[in-house]
Amino acid sequence: MSRAQPSSRAQPSGRAQPSSRLLLRVDPISCDGHGRCAELLSEVISLDDWGYPMPITAELPPQLEAHARRAARACPTLAITLERQRRRRAPEDGPRR
């Protein structure tokens, strides 16, 4: 259920604006504590005492966006969600299971 936005939306112009930061969220229900995100994105994600990720911030600095996408793709349970802060279509954010 990775909601990583297609990279076509991450235009260079949008990357510079602070208003369109990429937001990282971990779905705590899906997450099983594999810990790969902390390996791939250690700048933002640390692990708690039981090996579950603790993002220190939701807003990703632009230089980490590529790493964040890699971490989202690498998550075995697809628990990492990346989305632009400024959302275009609020209600149709994919069907909720």
Binding site: P28, I29, S30, D48, D49, W50, Y52, P91, R96
Partner: protein, 616 residues
């Protein structure tokens, strides 16, 4: 996110001497005292009459026996917040009997500081109330008198059905519906939600309900903009704990596409809170009226009643629904659905998940239930107390609604008061009333209190000396790092150990976790285990440090707020009972009384739901 521990200058809040009896220093001979620590004198009605004919009551003939009776429910004692009754208390307290609050052998400094704080907070609360001047008596107490009079008188009067099931409206306790709208709103009266609670403990029938509160205004077709404006003007906030503005929630539901659904959430599983059960068993029609109002406001096609599957509660709602069905009261069809008796089942996304056919487990949000709720439809989930408020708001309007409470948070709160009090009660208090007023509503304390738990299992401990002056409102509780939670005030007797009781709650809540999120699955048992070790006096200093660390670690990391609640409770206990922490670390405990709070034993692991795998 650790909550700031409230430092506790003097741990114990003295119980004080029993309240004045009818013969002693009571200005009003019509007001009896009520039982103190030793219980009622033999042959005396257990609950004291609070107002007599001397106040000019037309219903003075309604006496103790009719007003109060032994209750059969699990939560036997209840009471409207009687204004006159607490008025006497407060005037008694103010009239120079304060030194009695001090426990024998206690210094004057402590009690004086306590009184000053309490007075200051009381004044602040009074000032915020509209129409309250600097008069010594707060106005709502006097107002309550009239409200309660008609509440009692109403029972003896026979109202007649006008046509069909429409019953003639008598001018009753709240502002009469027949009043012209341009007139000043009727004076605010306090037992407003609970005004119709029957003294015999049974639920209010439909005819009586309509006589008492008047008929519900006719609904319009489509989303009722007028109703929405009324809700906006009333500034009503959700009473389920989060305090979210109701109008904003309704607008969010309306903004989403699809047929909307209203969920009346009567599944609050907090074992310390009785208010939802109380409202559903005693005033089911008020809640159901509110559900219809909410359905009209958001143009819902269906109302789902999500009610705890306890025979008493479920049966009362079932009977009320049958009654309404016969009377064709419900424009929007209502379905009654049982909720499992588990803590997390009452969380709004868990309710929606369960009503959609899934297990009663919280969901990862967003999408929020407002946009994507029951079976994908926009869903308005409201607590039953919120709905009861809506039922009255639609009748009497926002001006009336704002007649009590603070400017930011108008209205009243239904508060469960229990613990070391003479009579555990469900009282109705204005928002902004102090913890002291809630305790006074239950007859003050039976013994010295060592700490006050406000908010229920997910609440916060407050030091007993400082707690009475804290206002019961979202703003007031936020000011002391607390939360209103499920509207619970528990006085912990000084003989009981706060750490041990908190450990019991923590173990219970750890067992009630839905087992979905890592922080909850691992963190809560770790916290509960460490706290239990501390409570049993075989923990060391690093254990306490770990407790603090874990409380900060799990907060905000679940799909729901379950871990946050536990973390806040435990962190506040470590702060408020700091002295005891030291004592326990040294291997002792000064408080022998075990198992005071009515918290069930933790569910055995076999009874917990298996952790579901993600389906998609």
């Amino acid at each position: 996110m650790a909550h700031p521990p409230v430092q506790n200058p003097d741990r114990a809040l003295p119980a004080g001497s029993p309240p004045p009896t009818g013969t002693e220093a009571t200005p009003d001979p019509g007001v009896n005292g009520y039982p103190g620590a030793d219980g009622p004198p033999a042959g005396h009605s257990r609950r004291g009459r609070r107002r007599g004919a001397s106040r000019g009551s037309p219903a003075g003939s309604v006496d103790d026996a009719a007003r109060w009776r032994a209750d059969t429910g699990p939560f036997g004692d209840w009471q409207h917040d009687s204004g006159a009754w607490s008025e006497d208390w407060v005037s008694w307290l103010r009239a120079g009997h304060r030194q009695r609050l001090a426990a024998p052998g206690r210094g004057d400094d402590g009690s004086a500081a306590f009184q000053d704080r309490r007075e200051g907070a009381g004044a602040a609360v009074r000032d915020r109330r509209p129409g309250a001047g600097s008069a010594p008596g707060p106005d709502w107490r006097e107002d309550t008198a009239t409200g309660e009079l008609s509440a009692t008188g109403e029972w003896t009067r026979a109202g007649r059905a006008r046509a069909g099931h429409q019953v003639a409206v008598e001018p009753v306790a709240p502002a009469p519906a027949a009043q012209p709208p341009d007139r000043a709103p009727a004076r605010a009266v306090l037992p407003r939600l609970l005004a119709g609670v029957r003294p015999d403990g049974r639920s209010l029938g439909l005819d009586e309900h309509l006589r008492k509160y008047g008929p519900l205004p006719a609904r319009q077709r489509g989303p009722d903009e007028r109703l929405l404006r009324q809700v906006a003007d009333s500034r009503l906030r959700g009473r389920g704990g989060a305090g979210f503005p109701v109008e904003a929630k309704m607008r969010a539901v309306l903004a989403a596409r699809g047929h909307t659904v209203v969920v009346a959430n009567g599944a609050a599983g907090d074992p310390l809170s009785e208010k939802d059960t109380f409202l559903l068993t005693r005033l089911p029609h008020l809640v159901l009226d509110g559900a219809q109002v909410a359905a009209a406001a958001v143009d819902a096609r269906q109302v789902l009643l999500y009610v705890l599957a306890r025979p008493q509660v479920y049966g009362a709602v079932e009977r009320a629904l049958a009654e309404r069905h016969r009377g064709r009261m419900d424009a929007v069809p209502v379905r009654l659905l049982p909720a499992p008796d588990r803590y997390v089942a009452g969380e709004s996304s868990a309710a929606v998940h369960h009503l959609s056919g899934g297990p009663p487990l919280p969901l990862f949000q967003p999408p929020h239930t407002a946009a994507h709720g029951v079976k994908g439809r926009p869903t308005l989930v409201q607590n039953v107390e919120t709905l009861a408020n809506l039922g009255l708001l639609a009748r009497y309007g926002p001006d009336w609604f704002r007649g009590v409470g603070t400017a930011d948070e108008p209205g009243s709160l239904v508060i469960t008061v229990r613990g070391a009090v003479p009579r555990p009660v469900v009282v109705e208090l204005p928002v902004g009333a102090t913890v002291e007023q809630a305790l006074v509503g239950a007859g003050w304390l039976t013994e010295a209190a060592g700490g006050i738990l406000v908010g229920g299992c997910f609440g916060r401990w407050l030091p007993a000396a400082a707690a009475p002056s804290v206002p019961l409102s979202h703003a007031g509780m936020a000011g002391v790092g607390g939360t209103l939670g499920a509207g619970v005030v528990v006085a912990l007797p000084d003989r009981a150990c706060g750490l041990r009781e908190t450990a019991r709650i923590a173990r219970y809540l750890a067992g009630e976790s839905s087992g979905q999120c890592g922080a909850c699955v691992n963190g809560l048992p770790a916290i509960a285990g460490a706290l239990t070790a501390l409570a049993e006096s075989h923990a060391d200093g690093p254990t306490v440090q770990r407790l603090y660390r874990w409380c900060g670690m799990v907060a905000g990391r679940g799909a729901c707020r379950h871990p946050d609640g536990v973390a806040g409770l435990v962190a506040s206990a470590l702060g408020v009972f700091a002295e005891d922490v030291g004592r326990h670390l040294a291997g002792g405990c000064a408080h022998p009384l075990p198992n005071v709070l009515p918290v069930p034993a933790p569910a055995p692991a076999s009874a917990r739901p298996p952790r579901p795998r993600a389906a998609t």
